[in-house]
């Protein structure tokens, strides 16, 4: 027994010790992981590292990416929005309903695009109002509206709406000069605007303050309830924008659209490194997390990995990401 432990400890001592430059790993850990995944898939599949596939990935992640941006605002205030998937279904149906009117006037056409955004804002406002009262935890509020909004969607239109017209689907399927999809442009726009808001405006500063310490924020004269209300509205608006792309891509609206989306969005945000306890993280974190998930999904499909295995692998990555952060103290 003694010999074994002696030799094994000698063995460990003889191994070269890998010392990661801690600050680099702490700040860019997930970016490094993302690059690692990309390199792995590039070696494993000849179809992966092509321009067209890169555009494909961005196109695929646009919907969940935009929802994750909204989710980031909510999580930064140490809240959570479980109702995004159900909001998506409601917005999807109403928007589709407008678009399939025969001989739509310009007004109806505009409404088809505006309605999901406005509806998202209203439903987000319901969440925000309930959370801002301070009597119910965000988890409970949005768990309740997750059910309620889904119920509303099914009651409103149990059957799918098919055959959406091409003018409506353009944003979801077409590209600028045939190369860059509109959806990618829209995702980038949302990311840039959200980053500006968080980094440069006083509202952004207050989002971090409320998430970092609600009591201190209140004692500094910040209207905490208003900030909380606003982030849920932002989450709803992001869902509305995502619906425009989603409906265009799918070509229809359905009452079970967005099922389980909340978990994917939260996973993207957390994998990227936003603290689930609020106050720490950025939009670039959310984008990184979204891309990690998107690239994994895309690469695993290209490698013909069966979808149940894909889900297991993504689950393992989520655990690894959070543990990695825990070890390097970012969430400490």
């Amino acid at each position: 027994m003694k010999d074994v432990t002696a030799t094994s400890s000698a063995l460990f001592k003889s191994l070269p010790v890998f010392k990661a430059p801690t600050s680099l790993v702490r700040n860019y850990g997930m970016v490094i992981v993302l690059l690692g995944v990309i390199i792995t898939f590039s070696l494993a599949s000849p179809f992966f590292a092509t321009f067209q596939n890169a555009v494909n990935i961005l196109n695929q992640v646009a919907v969940i990416g935009i929802v994750a941006v909204g989710m980031t605002f909510v999580i930064l205030t140490s809240g959570i929005d479980l109702s995004v998937g159900s909001m998506l279904a409601v917005c999807s149906l109403v928007s589709a309903e407008f678009s399939v009117q025969t001989d739509p006037s310009l007004f109806i056409k505009i409404l088809a695009f505006a309605a999901p955004v406005v509806l998202g804002a209203i439903m987000g406002g319901v969440n925000g109002t309930l959370v801002a009262t301070g009597y119910i935890a965000p988890f409970v509020v949005t768990l309740a509206t997750l059910g309620a909004f889904r119920g509303f969607a099914v009651w409103y239109h149990a059957n799918p709406i098919y055959g959406l017209p091409s003018w409506y689907r353009a944003l979801g399927v077409e590209s600028v000069f045939g190369t860059i999809p509109y959806s990618v442009l829209m995702y980038l726009t949302v990311v840039v605007l959200a980053s500006l808001t968080l980094n440069r405006t006083k509202f952004g500063r207050r989002v971090y303050a409320v998430g970092g310490n609600e009591h201190a924020s209140r004692a500094s004269g910040i209207n905490v309830a208003r900030v909380k209300f606003a982030v849920y509205v932002i989450s709803g608006v992001c869902v509305g924008l995502a619906v425009i792309l989603q409906n265009g891509r799918v070509g229809g609206g359905q009452s079970y659209a967005g099922d389980g989306m909340e978990l994917r969005a939260i996973a993207a945000v957390i994998i990227g490194g936003v603290s689930l306890f609020g106050g720490r993280g950025s939009i670039s974190n959310a984008v990184t997390g979204t891309l990690v998930l998107g690239v994994l999904f895309n690469g695993l499909v290209l490698l013909n990995v069966p979808s149940p295995i894909q889900v297991i692998i993504i689950g393992a990555i989520l655990v690894a990401a959070v543990m990695f952060d825990g070890i390097f103290g970012r969430r400490g």
């Binding site: 405006t201 006083k202 310490n213 009591h215 201190a216 924020s217 004692a219 004269g221 209207n223 106050g279």
Partner: protein
């Protein structure tokens, strides 16, 4: 029930009576040598030694922040990274975890309550060592309650065993805490401010219990602000100041005056930047302010350029009054008048707009956002001043923060750092700076020097004086008598939710203030109708 009575016997015989004789009688039982403890930015203990015989009661006194509680928590294994040696019966012990301390026979009853509000009294007393039941994995409720009852019998007190602890009054909760320490059957029991919320009869019972423990060979370290208690119970007394042992000796060498002098002991007028002020017109007036269960009919006025102290025991309602004025708590009765106009203060936002600012007591909870940089913490309240539309003009923000930081003696190099990395003193200066950026006319400071080192304390006093020169009115809430006496123009005293006394600079003394704080001064209000707030644990 048999084992329950065996348990009560073991308590009555008292902890280690059986093996006292087998151990060497000469030499101290517990000895601490040159204990040092460095917290970020503060040297909490700068080399303290003490020793204790079996059955000794050591009184440990000192101002807030002198290091008493730190020393207690080191002995209880709650602080890692201390330097120095602790010897028990001449053998060195490593007190790196609460379990080690427990094995060494040391139990600490902490100042802050650490009870689980939803569990019952009996469960709390035996938390972590519930008696096992017949079925594995279950505990025996009968045995638990019998043992808990016998513990309370030893203490000679009655408590409802099955009630959840949240239903108890603060005094009852404190007794549960003491019972918790007792069931560990310690050889050294450390009591940190055990009587802070106990009244006459309960206090006497506690002192009786300490005497019982002493006669059975248990050593006790008794930490208290109440000097009369220490003088009554202790065999020897050690005085700490700023992390150093400044005096020690047997009980008979001490008197209350000598203790106070040893506790305070420095050239006071320079340290406090003592200066006289010329109060101007009234800025803030409070009339008949009240919140049921916390305080009633509080009346006072603050004038431009004066510093008014607010004194009282913890729980007397001082912080609650400040919170009501600042809008963190809604006052149900009375008026708050700012610059001659009655204002309905519903939130801190309203208060700040009216020029009332608060530097909160609990810096970590209400003062700072730990992850943000110091700059962003300081600018948090006044951010709108540095904005064009919704956008923050970061240059202007930085300039304003740098200039206010120099006024409060905050090193500009700390500004880009996350505020959590700063020392307590620098954090406090940042919180003050944050409030100053809002250019208030009334500044309320709640325990502004708690937990910060001597240099930073003196800086805070200087800042307060400078502010009053510019016409600001300051309300200084403090538990430290010398601080109030050294800094304030007038001192108000609260007792059990009422304003009971007012002293001006000439008439105030440590003794008169102590008496008023304890509720025996020249009472301004009739306190017969005041009921002690029972109920919830905070």
């Amino acid at each position: 029930m048999a084992s329950a009575s065996a348990f009560s016997d073991s308590l009555n015989q008292l902890p280690v009576a059986d093996d006292v004789l087998t151990r060497p009688a000469n030499g101290p039982f517990v000895e601490a040598r040159d204990i040092r403890m460095q917290f970020p930015g503060v040297l909490a203990l700068a080399g303290v030694s003490l020793s204790l015989q079996r059955g000794d009661v050591l009184g440990l006194v000192g101002e807030n922040g002198a290091g008493k509680s730190t020393l207690a928590s080191i002995l209880a294994g709650l602080q890692r990274g201390y330097e120095g040696d602790v010897l028990i019966d001449g053998r060195r012990v490593d007190l790196t975890s609460p379990n080690r301390a427990r094995e060494a026979g040391i139990a600490l009853v902490e100042q802050e309550l650490s009870l689980v509000p939803e569990l019952s009294v009996a469960e709390n007393i035996f938390l972590g060592r519930l008696p096992r039941g017949r079925i594995p994995g279950f505990f025996s409720r009968n045995l638990l309650e019998a043992q808990a009852q016998s513990t309370l019998d030893v203490m000679d007190i009655k408590l409802p065993l099955r009630h959840p602890v949240r239903c108890l009054s603060p005094a009852q909760a404190q007794l549960v805490e003491i019972a918790k320490g007792l069931v560990q059957q310690p050889q050294l029991l450390i009591l940190d401010e055990p009587t802070s919320s106990l009244t006459g009869a309960e206090r006497d019972k506690l002192l009786t219990l300490v005497r019982k423990l002493r006669s059975s060979g248990t050593s006790v370290i008794y930490i208290s602000h109440k000097l009369d208690e220490v003088l009554e119970i202790a065999d020897s007394i050690t005085v700490l100041r700023d992390g150093l042992k400044v005096a020690a000796g047997p009980r008979k060498e001490w008197s209350e005056e000598r203790l106070i002098r040893a506790m305070v002991g420095r050239d006071l007028s320079q340290y406090y930047h003592r200066r006289s002020h010329n109060p101007g017109k009234v800025v803030l007036e409070v009339r008949e302010l009240g919140v049921p269960g916390l305080f009633t009919s509080v009346n006072f006025a603050l004038r431009q350029g004066e510093i008014v102290g607010l004194s009282g025991l913890i729980g007397a309602g001082r912080t609650e009054v400040a919170e009501a004025i600042f809008g963190l708590r809604r006052a149900t009765t009375g008026k708050i008048i700012v610059h001659g106009r009655e204002i309905n203060i519903t939130s801190p936002r309203v208060a700040l707009r009216q020029g009332i600012a608060l530097v909160p007591e609990d810096r970590r909870r209400d003062g700072i956002v730990p992850e943000l940089t110091t700059t962003r913490n300081i600018s948090l309240g006044a951010l709108s001043k540095y904005c064009i539309g919704p956008f923050v003009v970061q240059d202007e923000e930085r300039k304003a923060v740098v200039s206010i930081a120099s006024k409060v003696d905050l090193d500009a190099q700390m500004l880009p750092q996350p505020i959590r990395t700063l020392s307590g003193g620098s954090k406090q200066k940042s919180v003050i700076a944050k409030m100053l950026l809002l250019s208030p006319s009334v500044l309320i400071l709640d325990e502004p020097t708690r937990g910060i080192d001597v240099g930073a304390k003196s800086d805070v006093y200087r800042i307060i004086h400078d502010l009053t020169q510019t016409g600001m009115a300051c309300l200084l809430i403090s538990s430290e008598m010398p601080e109030l006496l050294g800094v304030c123009d007038r001192i108000l005293v609260m007792h059990l939710g009422r304003l009971v006394a007012e002293f001006d600079r000439e008439t105030a003394s440590e003794e008169s203030l102590m008496a008023a704080v304890a509720g025996s001064g020249n009472v301004l209000n009739n306190e017969a109708d005041w009921q002690r707030p029972g109920g919830t644990l905070r």
